[in-house]
């Protein structure tokens, strides 16, 4: 009896091994939150990657083989994610796309690393993910500190010499304010004001009066939209024309409702572009076929970045003509790669972070619309 079992198992393993060796498809994993509170993101990720895979296979696939997308649900939960990662690792995938939340990605990182599987995350922006020195980890989304960098650049490009920085003491807003402050100071920009407001309050005239006395050329606001709406409104009442520039936490249509169109007009903010604003012909065509198939465009940029993860992996396989994850990782780290993605050109630095700017500058026009600014 025992013997039979052992033989049986051996045969299964041999067959499985042979199956992998003879397989005429390249398996790429997708780890996405198709259930749980981020399910809408997960659905979009799934649709985008499947559509890209279908397009690729229609053109003949990769290295003469078809590409097969293997989906595992991470539920937006770290524990579910580690199980999903283990399942994917045993299914012979060469690379995994995903996932959305930083803590969820973190739970799966070491599992993929130990199994030498390439991982390309799409929505995990926490800084530490790429600071661990993991060889097979990449991400197509920006890091949390990139926004500060882009903000500092934008402020300088606009020619402002005296900058006031206002945050609200939340870890996100304070982090962005500190980042911007350090970078601007290093470049010799004068910081004339650096302080925090209390979220949840309604009257910011005392702060505005103090800000005005500091005579800044521009105010960099790193907090959230409810406070900003009131600030812009009260600034307008004071007849103070100073321009404001803010972070992606102010990217909300309610901002214009709170501030009023005339007070919100002229406000600048940084944000990853909404999918419909991506300027590339290829992306527009893709979004068109996506909308035709699923009835609506993807809701956010993060799902589109999962598509970029898929393009990164497939393009790397095509160029290096191998599916060996070590060689693929070396190619992606090399810095010579120029992959054309849905959100522009994709390249990675030695840590696996995406090189180049994902953040764009938006401006509120007189009608209260958020208009993407030319770079």
């Amino acid at each position: 009896m025992k013997r039979t079992v052992v033989w049986g198992l051996t045969w299964v393993m041999v067959l499985a091994g042979a199956g992998l060796g003879l397989a005429d498809s390249i398996k790429i994993g997708l780890m996405a939150p198709v259930t749980g509170s981020w399910a809408s993101e997960g659905e979009d990720m799934k649709h985008i990657v499947n559509l890209l895979a279908a397009e690729l296979n229609a053109k003949g696939g990769l290295l003469g083989q078809q590409v097969e997308v293997v989906l595992e649900d991470d539920g937006g939960d770290p524990r579910t994610a580690s199980l999903a990662a283990q399942r994917l690792a045993t299914q012979g995938v060469k690379a995994v796309i995903g996932t959305y939340g930083s803590s969820v990605t973190e739970a799966s990182q070491s599992i993929y690393d130990e199994s030498s599987i390439l991982q390309v995350a799409n929505g995990s922006t926490a800084i530490r993910l790429t600071e661990k020195g993991l060889k097979y980890f990449f991400r197509t989304c920006p890091r949390d500190d990139e926004q500060g960098r882009v903000a500092a650049q934008t402020i300088q490009k606009m020619g402002f010499k005296k900058v006031a920085i206002l945050h609200d003491n939340t870890s996100y807003a304070k982090g962005l304010a500190d980042e911007g402050n350090a970078l601007l100071k290093k470049d010799g920009v004068q910081i004339v004001f650096f302080d925090a407001l209390t979220p949840g309050e309604r009257d910011f005239t005392a702060i505005l009066t103090k800000l005005k006395a500091a005579k800044p050329d521009v105010v960099f606001f790193t907090g959230y939209f409810p406070e900003l709406g009131l600030i812009l409104r009260q600034k307008k009442e004071m007849n103070w024309p100073v321009p404001f520039i803010g972070g992606d936490a102010t990217n909300n249509p309610d901002l214009v409702k709170i501030a009023g169109k005339d007070a919100a007009a002229g406000y600048y903010f940084l944000s990853p572009p909404v999918p419909q604003d991506l300027p590339y012909e290829k992306t527009k065509a893709f979004l068109k076929s996506y909308t035709a198939k699923h009835g609506a465009a993807p809701g956010s940029i993060w799902a589109v970045l999962a598509g970029d993860g898929f393009l990164t992996v497939t393009e790397a396989i095509k160029t290096t003509k191998t599916t060996d994850p070590t060689k693929l990782a070396a190619f992606l780290h090399g810095g010579k790669q120029k992959i054309s993605g849905l959100t522009g050109e994709i390249g990675f630095n030695a840590k696996g972070d995406r090189v180049g700017e994902v953040y764009r500058v938006y401006r509120v026009d007189a009608g209260g619309n958020f208009v993407l600014q030319a770079k």
Partner: protein
């Protein structure tokens, strides 16, 4: 110097709102020795009711802006006053003879009930008053630019406070309220209907709180269901600062608190302005435990 006066007007405008809300706390405390923790939520209710009435009735369109707003204010005041009276009936009167702690717990429960009711009725998202109801003009006075609406808000709160003061000091009912505040048992012996007095207090206090909510909604334009918490806390502080139970004290306390906040933000640090305001409160209470104008020591809570 110009900045100083600008900050002074900023502080007074905010302080006027604090004072208006503080009156509700102080009146209830004066008569019942009870902190009505639901007062901040009655303020929120005023802001939301104002929004509903404004958008559904279109008053300012039909009656012209001034008469429309006046009618709106009266309606809000009436509704919130009624809610206040109902609250007294349901949450406080049954506990009149119970230990004071039970009434405080009941007040906290009423606060949570009201806040969640508002959230369920209107949703958790931020609501916005229609724009352009009030003219957005700033007036220049000696180099200071003060928005007209701020002056209007300040004047309205001063008028309401003045009217209340006259009512308390000069009318029979006011005298009855003062008598009940000093000694309920003695007032009852003098033939004063104390239950009626308490009912009136619970009409006036919440009514003023509701108007304050409407003013905040009209001026700042943005309301959400948790807004009563911050304003309630500040107004409660103002009431204690001025001497809780004392009506002119609530007015003075509110205005002073607003000015301290503005000055703290202007000359020390914006992020520390609340800490500064509360530090001043502690110092004042150490020097004068009854508050600036208070007569009696607040013995419990």
């Amino acid at each position: 110097m110009e900045e100083f006066f600008q900050q002074l007007t900023n502080g007074l405008a905010v302080g006027g709102i604090y004072a208006l809300i503080a009156l509700g706390y102080t009146m209830v405390y004066g008569v019942l020795k009870l902190i009505n923790f639901a007062h901040g939520d009655l303020f929120t209710l005023g802001a939301y009711l104002g929004l509903s009435l404004l958008t559904s009735l279109g008053l300012s369109g039909r009656l012209g802006p001034l008469a429309g707003l006046l009618l709106l204010a009266l309606l809000v005041m009436g509704f919130v006053a009624l809610t206040g009276a109902l609250l007294e009936r349901a949450a406080y009167r049954p506990l009149r003879q119970s230990p004071r702690l039970s009434a405080v717990v009941s007040a906290l429960g009423a606060s949570i009930f009201l806040q969640n009711t508002i959230m369920l009725l209107y949703g958790a998202r931020i609501h916005v008053y229609p724009q352009d109801i009030l003219p957005k003009v700033a007036i220049d006075i000696g180099g200071l630019s003060i928005p007209l609406v701020r002056i209007l808000v300040f004047v309205v709160s001063l008028l309401l406070m003045g009217a209340l003061y006259l009512f308390i000091q000069r009318t029979r009912l006011g005298t009855a309220i003062r008598a009940a505040a000093i000694d309920q048992a003695a007032a009852r012996l003098m033939g004063i209907n104390v239950d009626q007095v308490i009912l009136i207090v619970f009409l006036i206090g919440p009514g003023l709180g509701g108007v304050a909510g409407l003013l905040v909604g009209l001026y700042y334009g943005q309301v959400n269901f948790t807004m009563g918490w911050v304003y309630g806390l500040k107004a409660f502080t103002a009431a204690i600062l001025g001497g809780i139970g004392n009506i002119p004290g609530a007015m003075v306390g509110g205005l002073i608190l607003g000015v301290i906040e503005a000055m703290g933000a202007a000359y020390i640090s914006v992020a520390w302005k609340d800490a500064i305001a509360f530090m001043v409160l502690i110092v004042i209470l150490i020097v004068r435990p009854t508050g600036i104008l208070g007569e009696r020591v607040a013995d419990k809570i």
